[in-house]
Amino acid sequence: GAGVSQSPRYKVAKRGQDVALRCDPISGHVSLFWYQQALGQGPEFLTYFQNEAQLDKSGLPSDRFFAERPEGSVSTLKIQRTQQEDSAVYLCASSPSSHQPQHFGDGTRLSIL
């Protein structure tokens, strides 16, 4: 399809393991956003890319979180030494530009045991 694709849909990891979450944005979309959605809450901003440049990472909760988009298309959100509080749904969104509505993927549900 032509939507935002995220993988895996579900990820279970043991505390202390590293995880990598992938986002394939809509082709041609310049802007890419990552959000964290805890159970029963609204999504919270993590980071924003314009092409390959990470323009805002103010929402990343700690230095264990790292995001990249090296070629301005696919993005990866990496969490090192996972903790139980990292359990959440991670949503990726893309838009043609930062001034236009965002299109969301179905998210990756991360569970840390």
């Binding site: 029963g40 999504p43 930062s98 001034h99 509505p101 965002q102 993927g105 549900r109």
Partner: protein, 115 residues
């Protein structure tokens, strides 16, 4: 700074009756406002957006919202609820000038539709 308050965490209506989901926002500049719907285990789908054009905005599936600057509100309405409208709804503010598209979400309103 920008923020969003969704005044009701849960709304329950009967099928065929009107829906009102309330949202108040705070923004330093001229905001863009959005409503998204989220069905279980799915991503968010855009219902409608306000970006400083007409204050009454029509969206998909019969939803509409009115931007009231004096009240800093952007309430979502629908004349007649369908069972398929049962979902989580998020009001979103985005200050395109100050925050370059960074969006702030409300905590969501769960809409239940009774037969």
């Amino acid at each position: 700074a920008q923020s969003v308050t969704q005044l009701d965490s849960h709304v329950s209506v009967s099928e065929g009756t009107p829906v009102l989901l309330r949202c108040n926002y705070s923004s330093s500049y001229s905001p863009s406002l959005f409503w998204y719907v989220q069905h279980p285990n799915k991503g968010l789908q855009l219902l409608l957006k306000y970006t400083s054009a007409a204050t009454l905005v029509k969206g998909i599936n019969g939803f509409e919202a009115e931007f009231k600057k004096s009240e800093t509100s952007f309430h979502l309405t629908k004349p007649s609820a369908h069972m398929s409208d049962a979902a989580e709804y998020f009001c979103v503010v985005s200050d395109m000038v100050a925050n370059a598209g960074k969006s702030t979400f409300g905590d969501g309103t769960t809409l239940t539709v009774k037969p």
